[in-house]
């Protein structure tokens, strides 16, 4: 897809910087804008849309044939002491996570149009700062930079929950903040150890140093380093049993917060595992895979079963994330091409469909200020358009073929099965559970007769809400029908990521 070489040359080195910092620039400009709500909303929409359009440069000009390495790289020394680089770059995996982020954020702006009517300016500033931080996580190739963005996501997200949430919002915000913050400290320790030994935070340099065996004392420390990173990521995913912050955070968060939390923030964890746990410590990843996969499997089944019995719609959706992210972890630690391709695809698909589910739940909340499933019933009569959107997304989420959920789940399970049949089999029970919890919820909310008179007059989705949901629904369909558009960039990146594992396997065979 080498369309215009000139074009490429001019934009490529700075495109990641632009995409990352335009939202932040927008946030700074917002500070100067007067507090006219409409202007602020329109401005935020324009900024996020601009970011999205710019981010499309990445897949359009991406060299799919190139196997190894990162693209759109930009590497400059930032602080000489300590040796911190401003090093950015993406591969076929992180590129799509960036696009996922820029895709969801404008939808978040739209869906918050009316529901946020107090401290509007602060809200959109926080949202834009959050977008910059999230993108920064995926494009950083310097561990310091990565950690900076990683922690930087915490503050705006905690603020979104704490300031704009409902119910026990501050409890949820603090639980989220402390929990993931404490876990990150272990990663920080591991990063600092690496810096002390290699003298750089640069991911590629460290990776090469480890692979060529130049890091003194690495063998004895490797397991601890692996765990340091892993704990931070596992909490973020969240992997069972570190998941209990998630339902609380989701239930209290405003809709936009939930969308970005489930849609993007959780993927920081799985992305981290893929990039760092596998990228830096392949031997340890292999050695620890058995219990990680077991935890992932527990997450799949456990999350689904607990979701099944939730009386609160939003909490139900939150627990489904525990289940779906279990698939991602399962796929990553299968160390198979299909498993990792699938894991990456699930990340994207889950971002789109669960993001949409939260938008839909939010639309209902705006009307009834309630998430209790028992408060509804028969809504398909009063809100047919809403019911259609909801069903479509539910079907995407239960992994109906030709919609986006299927491709990733199928590949993950196929990969897990190749790694170890019993893991694939246990994971595949997920297809039964997901149909159970989502269709049951759907039946209780939409089918039957209207039991609460107030639901008879609920307005159907308005134009703005439909415009916010349509892209997500369209993406769910296109991803399901033409997954190759995504997979053909993911596949080579996964091949690169798995190269050390192939060597490992051949080493084992050789012995």
């Amino acid at each position: 897809m080498n369309l215009h070489p000139m074009d490429l040359d001019r934009w490529s080195p700075i495109i990641l910087t632009l995409v990352t910092f335009i939202p932040l620039a927008g946030a700074l400009l917002l500070l100067l804008l007067p507090r006219r709500h409409r202007d602020i909303r329109v401005f935020s929409l324009v900024v996020t849309l601009l970011t999205f359009v710019l981010s499309l440069h990445l897949p359009v000009h991406f060299h799919r044939a190139a196997l190894a390495g990162f693209q759109y790289e930009f590497d400059r020394s930032w602080i000489p002491t300590p040796n911190i680089h401003y090093h950015m770059g993406v591969d076929g995996i992180s590129m799509w996570l960036v696009v996922l982020t820029t895709f969801l954020t404008p939808l978040c702006v739209l869906i918050s149009w009316k529901s946020i009517d107090e401290r509007v300016k602060e809200f959109f500033i926080i949202l834009l700062v959050l977008e910059t931080a999230l993108i920064g996580v995926f494009v950083s190739l310097d561990l310091f930079l990565f950690y900076f963005f990683w922690e930087a996501t915490l503050i705006p997200m905690a603020l979104l929950i704490g300031m704009y949430g409902h119910g026990r919002k501050v409890y949820a915000a603090v639980k989220f903040f402390l929990y993931t913050m404490i876990a990150s400290v272990f990663m920080l320790a591991a990063i600092l150890w690496l810096y002390a030994k290699v003298g750089t935070f640069d991911f590629v340099t460290i990776q090469n140093a480890i692979r060529s065996g130049q890091v003194a004392g690495f063998t004895s420390a490797a397991q601890w380093l692996f765990l340091g990173f892993f704990v931070a990521f596992a909490v973020k995913v969240p992997l069972f049993p570190f998941h209990t912050w998630l339902p609380d955070a989701h239930v209290e968060a405003p809709t936009a917060g939930s969308v970005l939390l489930a849609g993007v923030l959780l993927k920081m964890g799985t992305y981290g595992m893929l990039r760092f746990n596998l990228g830096l410590f392949p031997d340890q990843a292999r050695a620890n895979a058995w219990w990680v996969m077991i935890l992932a499997l527990i997450g799949i089944v456990y999350g689904a079963l607990v979701a099944l019995v939730q009386p609160n719609m939003k909490k139900l959706i939150a627990y489904t994330s525990v289940s779906h992210l279990g698939f991602v972890v399962l796929g990553i630690f299968s160390f198979t091409q299909a498993g990792l391709d699938g894991a990456t695809f699930v990340m994207l698909a889950h971002g789109v469909s669960t993001g949409a589910l939260f938008m839909l739940a939010g639309a209902l909340y705006e009307r009834r200020h309630n998430y209790d499933i028992s408060e509804f019933g028969g809504l398909a009569t009063s809100m047919p358009v809403y019911a259609s959107f909801f069903l479509f997304i539910v079907l995407a989420s239960v992994g109906l073929p030709l919609l986006n959920g299927f491709v990733g789940e199928f590949l993950v399970l196929s990969g897990a099965f190749q790694a170890r049949a019993v893991y694939g089999i246990l994971g595949a029970t997920g297809v039964i559970w997901s149909a159970g919890y989502l269709l049951w919820m759907y039946q209780r909310v939409f089918f039957g007769k209207i039991t609460h008179p107030v639901n008879e007059r609920l307005p159907d989705l308005d134009l703005r809400e439909q415009i916010a949901l349509l892209p997500a629904a369209a993406a769910a369909l296109v991803m399901g029908v033409a997954p190759l558009l995504w997979l053909n960039a993911i596949d080579p990146a996964v091949q690169t990521a798995l190269a050390p594992f192939a060597e490992l396997a051949s080493k084992v065979v050789g012995q």
Partner: protein, 680 residues
């Protein structure tokens, strides 16, 4: 160069209908909606006929590639279509019967709300079903497989304000998912061992393999897992429980999806995978036993049902059992033959039942029918043909296909044959029971001057799939749009078996000759190795088979006799002496109650699986582990929940700026510490 038939158009045409009606149908008139739906389903039928006309000039299997769907490493799955005799038969049955039922539905659903929605779903079903039968790999087949499940879910729950309909749709989907779980594992096994899901590649790899003995091995596992999938989709023991409930859907849906086409997908899939099953005798035995037991089991339930659609539902389960029995004894072509004739007569039975229900403004209880033969003559005569066909009376279509299955089953084991024969008797009995109760005797339902005079405890909620009562009262024949499909299907139910007249009756079984090569093709390879069930099976068609014609004729006579016996018993109990059944029922006591309540299987499943699962998830997992163990441990480790919440309250007390300040300060400290460590 093989010609390009544009096979992809066949499924995609109805999908266009779905898109048009689904997106704009709400604003269309009913005429426009119907025209769109008929146009696109009719176009698919026309395409199928065109393909059939060109078929003889093709080298089979004829494979058409459209695009690549999924690629991960070396694994690849394509949108590619596979045409051979087997898929051609399925194609014609699905588009032909499907188109007829579309026509019928226009009349049947005319006064219903959600008219456009109904036809959007119906066309969607056609899309997925045609994808299923035309797929050239298991993954594309799986798209169709899950997709027809979706269409079924939507159509069963079409009257979604009714709780029972919504629950039935969900049940169908979930039970099918249990089957799909097995299907998926089978696919993973195939990928792991053959690296592909393409039919030709998988079968090429399997053909050189020998038959697995001792009931273990890769192919046996694959076969068993595929059968799990088939049991879900085709409503076999133990996953049949969704199909009777599926009768909540509008009756044309029951005819098309839950009788003629979708539920036969499992049979098609097993027949398609015959290369695998031929080499997995243990799996094949499981198929045969499952089919045989299901045939009998469902027939016994059918005997005691009073809802006309429920009788037909159990009858469908039972007939599907016959098809699996056939596949299980490697008589695939007999199974597909029965699949085809069954599509004709069972589709017709449902449509005719729909016509009865329509005439009675929604009544489905046969105890409130009777004497309808003069009032709705077209319905009566067409249904009569269908009833004779399913009862296995010659020369109606069902006779030939069922007889072939029984004969082939006998060659495998007399036990299959005997159970099949007894089931044939039961089938004839419950079908003629239905026939007599509906069309003969006195009318027992409500009339305009008198309410139903039957002192029976009939719950209104047992009515399933009934359209809303019509404005015009009185018992009336259905409009031409409904009658014409009945007549066409009646002709097919009468003559459809004649293409498969066996040698023993002076025919040449042209159906078997046509479709046989699909199932023969592997036999040569097997024969070369000198073992395998199929080989032994095929030998029976050699010279010795000629000598067996006499025996075959005797067996034909026995099965015809069984059918007549069923007729006689039904005549005795439901025409001659209608008081007798109640006395017999009273005499049987508990046994009768068990049959009426379908052996309490639904209750058993609820008690064994559903309730423990929900209670366990809520009490043990959620409240127990999540809240009492994990969260409690967390709170403790954070110096007690109280202190945390105290500090929380502290932070909460401030305004936004002080809170943001706290967080920012925390982050700043961390970063400063980091830099400090780094500089050392």
């Amino acid at each position: 160069m093989t010609p390009n038939l544009h096979l992809w158009l066949i499924p995609v045409l109805p999908l266009v209908g779905t898109a048009v009606n689904g997106l704009f149908g709400k604003k269309f008139s009913r005429q426009t909606v119907a025209a769109v739906a008929l146009l696109f389903s009719g176009a698919a039928f026309a395409m199928a006929l065109f393909v059939a006309s060109r078929f003889s000039s093709l080298t089979t299997p004829h494979i058409e590639f459209l695009a690549t769907w999924i690629r991960a490493g070396k694994f690849q799955a394509d949108f590619a279509f596979y045409l051979d005799q087997l898929s051609l038969v399925m194609l014609l049955v699905v588009t032909g019967v499907g188109f007829l039922i579309h026509i019928y539905s226009v009349g049947y659903m005319w006064e219903e709300g959600g008219f456009y929605r109904f036809f959007a779903y119906l066309n969607l079903f056609m899309f997925f079903m045609l994808t299923l039968v035309l797929a050239s790999n298991y993954l594309l087949m799986f798209i169709g497989w899950e997709g027809v499940g979706l269409a079924s879910y939507l159509l069963i729950g079409f009257w979604f304000t009714k709780d029972s309909a919504a629950a039935a749709g969900k049940k169908a989907f979930i039970v099918n998912r249990i089957g799909d779980f097995g299907f998926l594992i089978a696919l993973f096994l195939l990928i792991k061992h053959f690296g592909s899901l393409n039919f030709d590649q998988v079968f090429q790899s399997v053909i050189p393999m020998g038959a697995e003995t001792g009931g273990a091995g890769l192919l046996t596992a694959v076969g068993l897992l595929l059968m799990v999938g088939a049991a879900g989709k085709s409503a076999q023991i133990p996953l049949y429980v969704w199909l009777p409930d599926a009768m909540e859907g509008p009756t044309p849906v029951s005819a098309l999806i839950h009788a003629a086409t979708m539920v036969t997908a499992g049979v098609y899939m097993v027949a398609r995978s015959h290369v695998i099953f031929d080499r997995a005798p243990a799996a094949l035995t499981v198929v045969a036993i499952t089919g045989t037991l299901t045939a009998l089991f469902a027939a016994t339930i059918g005997v005691a049902q009073t809802d006309i659609k429920k009788v037909l539902a159990y009858s469908t389960i039972s007939q599907l059992g016959y098809m699996f029995m056939a596949c299980g004894v490697a008589a695939y072509s007999a199974g597909i033959f029965h699949l085809m004739t069954h599509a004709f007569f069972k589709g017709l039975l449902f449509l005719a039942a729909g016509s009865v229900i329509h005439a009675l403004s929604g009544e489905q209880d046969m105890r409130l029918m009777g004497g309808l033969r003069t009032k709705i003559p077209w319905t009566f005569w067409t249904m009569t043909i269908a009833t004779f066909a399913i009862a296995g009376i010659p020369p109606f279509a069902g006779f030939f296909s069922k007889d072939e299955i029984l004969w082939r089953a006998y060659q495998a084991s007399w036990v299959y044959w005997f159970i099949g024969l007894f089931t044939a008797f039961l089938t004839s009995f419950y079908m003629f029971r239905l026939w007599f109760m509906t069309f003969f005797g006195e009318y027992r339902g409500a009339t305009e001057d008198a309410p139903a005079h039957l002192a029976l405890d009939i719950h209104s909620d047992t009515r399933a799939g009934a359209p809303a009562p019509h404005g015009h009262g009185g018992i009336h024949e259905s409009p031409p749009l409904m009658v014409i499909p009945l007549v066409v299907l009646a002709v097919l139910s009468f003559t459809g078996g004649w293409i498969g007249v066996p040698g023993s009756l002076g025919g040449s079984n042209r159906f078997d000759k046509f479709i046989g090569p699909v199932f023969h093709s592997t036999v040569t390879a097997l024969g070369a190795e000198g073992h395998g069930v199929a080989t032994a099976e095929r030998e029976a068609e050699g010279p010795e088979a000629q000598a067996g014609h006499g025996t075959e004729l005797i067996f034909t006579g026995i099965s015809v006799f069984a059918g007549l016996l069923g007729f006689g018993l039904a005549w005795l109990l439901y025409y001659r002496n209608p008081q007798l059944p109640q006395q017999i029922a009273a005499g049987l006591g508990g046994l009768y109650q068990a049959v009426v309540h379908k052996y309490y299987i639904d209750e058993l499943y609820a008690a064994l699986f559903v309730k423990p699962l929900i209670a366990g998830s809520a009490l043990i997992l959620w409240h127990g582990i999540d809240q009492d163990v994990i969260d409690a441990a967390l709170d403790n480790s954070a110096h007690g929940a109280r202190e945390v919440s105290d500090s929380v309250r502290h932070m909460q007390s401030g305004n936004l700026r002080s809170y943001a300040g706290w967080v920012a300060a925390g982050a700043a400290v961390v970063i400063a510490y980091m830099v400090w460590i780094g500089t050392r």
